[in-house]
């Protein structure tokens, strides 16, 4: 940390001949261990340090990603020279954060696990052993990663910050084989400390046990069904269905979108509230300051079915004449900040899971998932799903994709359970937008019943 502090004290951008400039400093300690079928095939620690310079002049941006700080004066000269050759751009009147030095170092104790590898290797070994004892196992892969990261920032307006985060994750992939049929399962969990990651694996034996029933499960008859999402699936749904649509950079210079996204518009059922919040420490979307120096905020995107907010960088906030929300984020020092989510989740309702099942006869329950994507149409690929009969989970069923139009689906949310669970998506998974992936984010929610969805 001292090294980054020294850099922030040494660098002075206040005299730069441009409207604005900032420099991000990033230092990471990563480790990665992978076992295949009980043997180590990857065991590495990686150190990285890099810088990202951003300069605004004549309404245009110049960005430069590099690793040698001694080159900063040359980088600044190149930036000014390149920007002087461009015709005037439209990024003006941006209200950048000013002044203040903030220091938030909270996770340095958790980095000890990077030093002593015994605990993590034991954890991998225990998980591998559990898999090896599974009757139908054909292949297994256990992949563990951890990271301790320091992020520093200095701007020409006098804004400075330094903060840290830690991130731990493990992903297990397994192939079960019986009578020429194969089921490929996975279990992917994260945490911001090692003990918590181990806790997240308490339910893995149960999932592994359930998996064997999917080897020969029938495929769903494609059609429209009532669908109940698990907390994990609802998190991906919140992220893919509405989170991305709330990112304000999609609305810039676009009258149709601005009209469609007027605050106060009814966009979902009355029970639906969707929130983005980067201030939650115990999460993988923890972003106390975004990569432009804006402090984290809790933003209601939808409150009781009504459009209530959107996610901003300083740039989109200026262009749409709204407040920045602390969502200007970059994956790492190789990229510029763009509007991204932090922790996005659907707020709780007041139903029990049993009540949801009672309301979904002939429906499908989406339990574990492989992933999801979304724009105006979203799709979620379930890993495990069940039919619902007589108010109970019934048969395991193979589902390739659950898909729908975002707004139609939001208006069809019928019921929510009472407990929210937030998932980590960082070391494995994460969010992708354009070229920038994977960004660490969090997502979650309660269990959720949607009256009708396309299932195939």
């Amino acid at each position: 940390m001292e090294q980054i502090k020294e850099i922030l004290e040494k660098v002075d951008l206040s005299d730069i001949p441009a409207e604005y400039a900032d420099l991000r400093v990033e230092k990471n300690d990563n480790s990665s261990i992978r076992w295949e079928n009980g043997h180590s095939v990857e065991d590495i620690s990686i150190k990285s340090k890099g810088f990202f310079l951003r300069v605004l002049k004549n309404g245009n941006w110049y960005y430069d990603s590099f690793t040698d700080l001694n080159k900063l004066p040359d980088k600044i000269k190149n930036a000014i020279s390149s920007l002087d050759k461009l015709s005037r751009g439209n990024f003006e009147n941006i209200c950048f954060e000013k002044d203040g030095f903030f220091e938030l170092i909270k996770f340095s104790n958790f980095r000890n696990v990077n030093v002593d590898g015994t605990a993590k290797r034991n954890f991998i070994s225990q998980t591998d052993k559990l898999l090896s004892e599974e009757t139908y196992l054909a292949r297994r892969n256990v992949h563990y990663r951890d990271r301790y990261s320091l992020r520093g920032f200095i701007s020409s307006r006098g804004r400075k910050f330094i903060y840290d985060f830690s991130s731990f994750g493990m992903r297990v992939d397994y192939y079960l084989q019986k009578n020429q049929e194969i089921f490929r399962g996975n279990y992917n969990r994260g945490a911001n400390n090692f003990n918590q990651l181990q806790q997240e694996y308490r339910n893995f034996p149960e999932q592994l046990e359930k998996s064997k029933y999917f080897i020969s499960a029938p495929h769903i008859q494609p059609g429209v069904y009532p669908v109940i999402f698990s907390e994990l699936a609802v998190g991906v749904f919140a992220h893919e269905s509405f989170g991305h649509k709330s990112e304000a950079d999609f609305m810039i210079g676009d009258k149709a979108m601005a009209e469609e996204w007027k605050m106060g518009k009814k966009v979902g059922s009355d029970i639906l509230s969707i929130i983005d919040d980067g201030s939650i420490e115990d999460s993988s979307g923890y972003t106390p300051f975004d990569d432009e120096g804006t402090a984290a905020d809790k933003t209601y995107l939808v409150k009781n079915g009504v459009l209530s907010g959107r996610l901003h960088s300083v740039e989109t906030a200026a262009l749409l004449k709204e407040k920045p929300t602390g969502n200007g984020r970059a994956v790492d020092f190789q990229f510029q900040p763009i509007v991204r989510m932090t922790n996005t989740y659907i707020d709780s309702g007041d139903e029990t899971f049993d009540n949801l099942l009672d309301q979904a006869p002939g429906g499908i329950y989406i339990d574990q998932i492989k992933g999801g994507t979304g724009l105006s149409t979203f799709s979620i690929a379930p890993l495990t799903a069940y039919t619902i009969k007589s108010g109970k989970l019934s048969e395991p069923i193979n589902v390739s994709v659950v898909t729908g139009n975002v707004f139609k689906t939001l208006s069809r949310v019928r019921a929510l359970s009472s407990k929210v669970k937030l998932y980590f998506s960082a070391e494995f998974g994460g969010c992708g937008k354009m070229e920038q992936m994977p960004l660490r984010v969090g997502f979650g929610g309660p269990k959720m019943l949607v009256a009708e969805m396309e299932v195939a």
């Binding site: 990686i46 430069d64 724009l375 149409t377």
Partner: protein, 409 residues
């Protein structure tokens, strides 16, 4: 054997221009070096890696202290290889290309908003050891990815306006893509759900799934749908699939793998006339299953080895797209789709973003809200129509991929 030290270095340089709201938003330069060290000693491998200004000596010491990965195979001892494709550009040159492309797009189709990126990338990968292994290749490419949306659309994007990946940047040829991608976008049509020929610009998900079935470790562990079926006819009798390591004219340059292995023949037949011919091997699995590495030991400077294809290419038919579809009056031409995962059994469903109705060799209008359901094995088997001889742009490795599938509106 005494200690062997292996160094892998990847240097990436990039200039890119970002487009937002039909205007240039900014210019970015990037110069990043990743370095990975592996130390082989007493049957164990130690690894360490770093990004940026990291001392090689420190990484070697770290790797020496981290000997933990067992190995019992023989790795390449002596080899020299060099391939350098050289080109340098300045940021203002990429800006000029972008301005010209944007002006052409706006001039041709003014009722749309454009966003995306144009970039020029150079990547150099080297690998050397103290056993006289000295391998290097360097390649460059232009990448164009521009999306569009109608000005009155409430979607984030409506489709792909242009895409290109290659060395021969030709403005007129790239802009001519809009005739396929955008010309009929505003003419909306409706079709009935049913079983149609489907045309895709890229067969990537299908090829990748088949290749995963042919990974030697999965195959021999019984985790592949093709386990035990090598030499059998499982796919359409005209379907061929190759793993390619070196075809610079079609942007496929990976002359050595992550273990320093080079293949004598750049093209490896995986499937020929529908018959499974070969598996993909790295050094460890080649040793384990009494075979030879096929130069498919994939590894970044920071990872362990995994079996992965280099570049997968479908064998092209002698027929053009129009000839392939000569017996069909209608087909669905999909130029952009989203999501969908292929299940363990090969079932695959995906919604489309941008799709058109093709009638008698012409795109006649756009069809909204389609989803396609198929199975990878049947799409490359009984429902296979072909891979055309003509390509969306000349530097693409293969032609249009055509198969029959359930299409739902």
């Amino acid at each position: 054997m005494s200690e062997v030290i292996e160094k892998t270095k990847v240097e990436d340089n990039e200039i890119s221009v970002e487009i937002k709201g039909s205007k240039i938003k900014g210019v970015r330069e990037k110069a990043i070096t990743n370095m990975g060290i592996r130390v082989f000693n007493q049957g164990l491998i130690g690894q360490a890696g770093g990004v940026g200004e990291i001392k090689q000596h420190d990484l070697i010491e770290k790797a020496r202290k981290n000997l933990s990965i067992p190995y019992s195979y023989v790795f390449p001892q002596e080899d020299h290889y060099k391939y350098i494709a050289e080109k340098n550009l300045l940021p203002e040159q990429i800006v000029a290309l972008t301005e010209k492309l944007l002006n052409s797009l706006i001039g041709k189709y003014p009722d749309y908003i454009y966003s995306g990126k144009i970039s020029f990338k150079k990547s150099t990968k080297s690998m050397n050891t103290n056993l006289n292994l000295d391998l290097i290749y360097s390649d460059y490419s232009y990448d164009v990815n521009i999306m569009f949306k109608q000005k009155d659309s409430i979607n984030i994007i409506d489709g792909v306006a242009l895409f290109f990946h290659g060395k021969l940047y030709d403005h007129d040829e790239i802009i001519s893509q809009t005739d396929i991608l955008m010309k009929k976008f505003s003419d909306t049509l409706h079709i009935k759900s049913g079983f149609y020929p489907v045309i895709l610009l890229s067969s990537h998900p299908f090829k990748a799934k088949i290749a995963s079935f042919l990974s030697a470790d999965l195959y021999h562990q019984g985790a592949s749908l093709f386990s035990g079926k090598l030499g059998q006819q499982l796919l359409h009798e005209q379907f061929c699939l190759f793993d390619e390591t070196f075809d610079p004219d079609h942007n496929m340059v990976r002359p050595f793998d992550g273990e320093g292995v080079r293949r004598s023949d750049s093209k490896l037949a995986l499937v020929e006339q529908g018959m499974l011919k070969n598996l993909l091997f790295d050094l460890k699995n080649a040793h384990l299953y009494n075979s030879s590495s096929t130069a498919n030991g994939s590894r970044s400077p920071f990872s362990g080895v995994s079996i992965r294809p280099n570049y997968l290419v479908m064998g092209s038919s002698k027929k053009t797209l129009k000839q392939l579809l000569s017996g069909y009056s209608q087909a669905i031409f999909i130029t952009a789709s989203i999501g969908g995962e292929i299940t363990s059994r090969g079932d695959y469903s995906f919604p489309t973003i941008q799709s058109y109705l093709w009638e008698d060799g012409n795109i006649v209008g756009r069809i909204e809200n389609l989803s396609v359901s198929t199975n990878v094995i049947s799409a490359l088997g009984e429902n296979w129509i072909g891979c055309s001889s003509d390509r969306f742009f000349p530097e693409l490795p293969e032609g249009y991929f055509v198969f029959k599938a359930e299409v739902k509106t």
